[in-house]
Symmetry: C2
Subunit: 485 residues, 2 copies
Amino acid sequence: MALVSTVRGAQLARLLGQWHALPGRRRSPDYAALAGAVRGLLTDGRLALGVRLPAERELAQALAISRTTVSAAYRELRASGHLTSRRGAGSWTTLPGGHRVGSHGLWAPLDDLDGIDLGSAAMPAPAELPAAAEEAVADLSRYLSGAGYHPAGLPDLRDAVAAGFTRRGLPTSAEQIMITSGVQHALDLVLRLLVPAGSPVLVETPTYPNALASLAARRARIATHGLGRAGWDAELLLGAVRQTRPRLAYLIPEFHNPTGHLMPVGLRERLPAAVHSAGTDLVADESFVDLALDGVAPPPPLASYDRHSRVLTIGGMSKPYWGGLRIGWVRAAAPVVQRLAAVRVGMDMSSPVLDQLVAVRLLERADTVVPARRAQLVRQRDALVAALRAELPEWRFAVPRGGMSLWAELDGPVSSALARAAEDLGVRLAPGPRFGADGTLERFLRLPFALPPEDLAEAVRRLAAVRYDLDRVPRPRWSEPAMIA
Amino acid sequence: MALVSTVRGAQLARLLGQWHALPGRRRSPDYAALAGAVRGLLTDGRLALGVRLPAERELAQALAISRTTVSAAYRELRASGHLTSRRGAGSWTTLPGGHRVGSHGLWAPLDDLDGIDLGSAAMPAPAELPAAAEEAVADLSRYLSGAGYHPAGLPDLRDAVAAGFTRRGLPTSAEQIMITSGVQHALDLVLRLLVPAGSPVLVETPTYPNALASLAARRARIATHGLGRAGWDAELLLGAVRQTRPRLAYLIPEFHNPTGHLMPVGLRERLPAAVHSAGTDLVADESFVDLALDGVAPPPPLASYDRHSRVLTIGGMSKPYWGGLRIGWVRAAAPVVQRLAAVRVGMDMSSPVLDQLVAVRLLERADTVVPARRAQLVRQRDALVAALRAELPEWRFAVPRGGMSLWAELDGPVSSALARAAEDLGVRLAPGPRFGADGTLERFLRLPFALPPEDLAEAVRRLAAVRYDLDRVPRPRWSEPAMIA
């Protein structure tokens, strides 16, 4: 495998940010802090595998530290299996053996089953899944005589999804629905059709990290609209659309991930016309729309204010039902759905028949599954909120009225450092900078409430211990490299 | 939807090729022949939807015909729903209502269920599938308490796939296996990791059309190695690798699609070292490796001659089992598998849990499923061969010893015209040019033997009727446009 991209000294310095702000810093030497910070970037996916790091001299210059320190840090990274060097070819990032890609792109040790995973906003399957799966197997016989390829999706599922939009007040026909393998896949497919490489794309900051990954794969030029404590600033957002005229805007109007904000009606009314004037297509990610809490009623979908087929709505089963199903969809104008289906054939052909049948059977059970999810999320959210107020009263946050996560403002720019230290106590975190396009957001941390109340309380206790015990020297727990080539 | 790519006059002229060679040409006027040829390009996916056609004057010049003829052809295409025009914005391709993307990227009318589909080399599900699915539902309970994301695949399935390679004489561990959503997805994922936009890639010609679609999405610069009647020319292929030094080579060594050739041991021994010297990664597509016929024993996998982790092997369940499952895999060095898993998170997260469990249970039944498939394919192939020899004795072909299709050399450069005419008789074909990167191959036609013997015989009878009845005027059967926006 020869293909290696290179990160320049200045880029890595920007990614490393306040690398010496690591808790435990008072005791650990500079080289160990630097190595720890690089390891953190690797673990949370901000630094990819197989990337060539800058030469020692170059990084030393960019960080304004001595080359000896960089040498020692690289040596430590080699010893822990995070860096491989070959004379003349440089040093590139690797992972020690016994690690895997975890959910949502974070790297996880294989043996961390005892840990508490706050990296992922995803829940176990609902109790109704096995029955739905059994019925789906019975339904399967109708499809077995065909080749099994349905690039736009099974008609039954397209009908069911269209009916869901219609019930929400947005009349929709099956021809406007394209079934995908999850919401991430829906976004990636839409980008492939609509965003030529290198085009400008507007996103919120913070935003969903895997959306940023998909945009990076298309080399999109990212423009951002910063969400404040109250959510979107309508004038600023509409101004950004007018001024940057992006090819596409990617927004999460319902229980925004990670902040939990819900876009108000007033902005929904104005956005579709504004993007149309700017020649921009708008992708509205409705992953969390079913998960309103406290009886909140979300406003009409963004697409219901759209007069020019500019809004593509993406959604799916992952959050209200189960991520292990991999069922998502795009709602768009029928001709766009046809083009998406044609593009998809060159990507992954179509979604599995059986999973689509399971989805049909689960959607029939929406009235049981979704309220139970909401009740469970309310309990978990309240437990998280109570624990944070008790253990980390300096952290500020709005209590989310939907979705699965809370966006906390910390008492310092220590999110990455906290994530690295927490790992030693068996708590996995996705630090704030993962949710930004520009490596900032070190003062923020996403805390999902997808786990049982007792796990959330325990996780917060451990975070508080880490936060206050700044003197503790973090000891990496990486196992020996054991790759098989 | 504003994004429209444009096809220039010279490009469209090249795609249209011998458009006036349409059967029925003697009676139909030029404008109708031109409209029919454009419709043919749209139907078989060589011309995408939403593409802006050249201005009438430009196309007239490129084809050296009168502008009146182009005007009339565009008018007919608008009337049949294949073109939409707006003053000032030009004319772009659309499809009439009631059409869908069929298997393998061909457009199919929704109501063609009576037709005989020779466009797709895919079979119905094996009889063992329902039992495997029932067992998989029972297995599911072990996974329901997790979030359901396994970017590299379920350990059980990775084990099973690795064991399959090991049994074929290529020792493989589960860490070297990445599970994907089908073979097409495996290729698309590998390209995303290894092929920067615009890189040179070497493919065979003819080759698998959806591989070309995936390469086009990455704007790869395509270099080709032409397969002759005897298959690969070792010296020419190795020379092409040395001279073009492509980033990646995509080859189908086992029962090549569409020609059916099997790469000999001699070339397998030399290729991996040659690509290594050229800095090239080699993707070996093993889609058909299980489908050896007539007792042929395929030589060892290409990867078994690889000393430098240069060969990535892709394969899957679609051909020997069922395409409706969407299970494929990549075999590569363990660190590459980790990188693929990380890339995948930004693409579609992971494969569905249930389908992976079905795949495990089906692979346990390989000794029943695969021999039955082979026996069925032998019967079908022999029926196709007999029908061709009886009805179209001028067509030349080698009898394939594996796979699912036969590559026929026709008695003239009429493949696209034949496909358009055959559609009126209810036979869908994928014409030769779909299998080439450069729009040639009009003398060739892929004929899959994935259908029952009587259907194949009937299809060949209809093809023979079309071939000899050059005077018949084709009458398009397109239904009225009925798009819902």
